[in-house]
């Protein structure tokens, strides 16, 4: 199986912090699979995820070592840590999309929320825009619910709908990788289920990495699971292996709820 991203010996230190938040992480992310990152609060899982599209760079002063490779179909690779120019960042973030913990609808209509990113890529044709918006909304199973109020303010949607809109906004850009940062922790169980089912569908076409607090969620939806603790990657394997026969004692303790 081919890797979509490869994190090699990656260390990360926040601005002003003495000790690194991530120590020498090496983690492959396989194409069209769901990789979940689990671990107790403060273990660095979100930090790692946020490094994968360099969203940390909004806040200057952080330092990092190692490499994070993004691979294309032909096997060409790019170390995303080398990116320095604004337009390369924009390109990276269009290829590696991100969905956040809290739904973040933009203060505009449902239609514009999705069209916003598309317009940034230079798409201006109204019919094409509409088609893309419809397709993205269908992909997240939101179309039927919102097709009659596409031009209403997106902030009027329910939390679960808002989160699906945010996912639609990301997939409209046809990214290669989608990063989910605890996407269901602010949602009710039904909305959570809808999002999980969607992630299952999405992996046909996208490579997915998800950070989650919810171990059941990791076991339900992911193919691979990485367990992190205090900035170290303790164990990485097939999800069944991690949950049924973990090699490390720490992993087993966490999975069985002895700490964390």
């Amino acid at each position: 199986m081919k890797n979509k991203m490869e994190i090699n010996h990656f260390s990360f230190t926040y601005k002003g912090a003495k000790a690194p938040s991530l120590n020498n992480i090496t983690l492959p992310v396989q194409t069209h699979k769901v990789t979940s990152i689990i671990g107790p609060s403060g273990c660095g899982k979100s930090t790692l995820l946020r490094s994968m599209n360099r969203i940390h760079d909004l806040y200057p002063g952080n330092t990092y070592e190692g490499e994070i490779l993004l691979l294309d179909k032909d096997g060409n690779q790019q170390n995303i840590l080398d990116i320095k120019k604004e337009n390369e960042f924009i390109h990276l973030r269009q290829k590696v999309g991100m969905v956040f913990q809290k739904p973040t609808p933009f203060p505009m209509s449902i239609f514009d929320n999705i069209a916003y990113g598309l317009k940034l890529t230079g798409l201006k044709n109204k019919h094409k825009l509409y088609d893309y918006v419809e397709k993205s909304l269908r992909d997240v199973a939101l179309w039927e619910e919102v097709k009659n109020r596409l031009y209403d303010d997106a902030r009027g949607l329910s939390g679960g709908q808002q989160q699906r809109l945010c996912i639609a906004r990301v997939i409209a850009l046809k990214p290669e990788v989608i990063l989910f940062d605890e996407p269901t922790s602010a949602l009710d169980p039904l909305s959570t289920l809808a999002i999980e089912e969607m992630i299952f569908e999405l992996k046909q076409n996208y490579t997915i990495t998800i950070v989650t607090h919810n171990m059941q969620q990791a076991s339900r939806i992911s193919d691979y699971t990485a367990f992190m603790y205090l900035g170290d990657l303790i164990e990485f394997d097939h999800t069944e292996t991690i949950f049924i026969r973990p090699k490390e004692k720490q992993t087993e303790d966490y999975i069985t709820g002895k700490f964390g």
Binding site: R93, M108, T121, L173
Partner: protein, 269 residues
Amino acid sequence: MRLLVNKIAIALSSLTAILGLIFLGWILITLILKGSTALSPYIFTHDLVNNGIRNLLWGQFVLAGLASAIGIPVGLLAGIYLQEYGNHTRYADFIRDLSDVMMSAPSIVIGTFIYAIIVIPVGHTNGWAGIAALFVMMLPIVVRTTDDMLSLVPTELREAGIAIGAPKYHVIFHIILKAAKVGIMTGLILAFARIVGETAPLLYTSGSTIYMETSLSQTFPSMTVSIYNLATMPDEKLVALAWAAALILTIAVLALNLIGRFLIKDRRL
């Protein structure tokens, strides 16, 4: 015992609230009673030289309007800088503190300052000096309102914009400002309402005149300054006119404030 203390506290705070309201009502009633006697369509169509207030209304709103036309864009951009670009840098913190100090600077001090740097070199009071004084008054208010309102926009929204590949300036102008729109608009209206009723910054800068004036390099009519002047006149007719002008100005400022409040109440999220 605790119940008693509670009752005393409620009684005292209610009493002081009522006291405040009594004075406010008193002012309003006096204004209406004294102001309405001279109030007639005539005063809106004649200048002060003919016992009207047309030139004063014009002057006051031109001064405040032009001060806003410069102060709003400059203040908005400065506020955006403070919150979105320079946040947590020492320079931004310094500017922020400076704005706070400027906001509480007595307005007569600002008037005197402009008098020293513009009116004295020019040799006489003029409209530009009045605009400059109002601009200096307004700027820190706009800067701090913009700064505060932008700080209420959740960080996630900025990150979400960046994460779908938008350049930072685009996120600020198309997403963040929209999210803070109502709050900023309210702040701008209140800032305008604040300067449109000011007297002290205009006293030595624009001065005031009884004639219609369209050139800003001349002494410019100002309603507030003229109210001050008219109120000390021996002629009772002119004093009544001052009351009418005061009533009109109060109504205008009150209306602006109510619009501002209404916007705050109406805001969603």
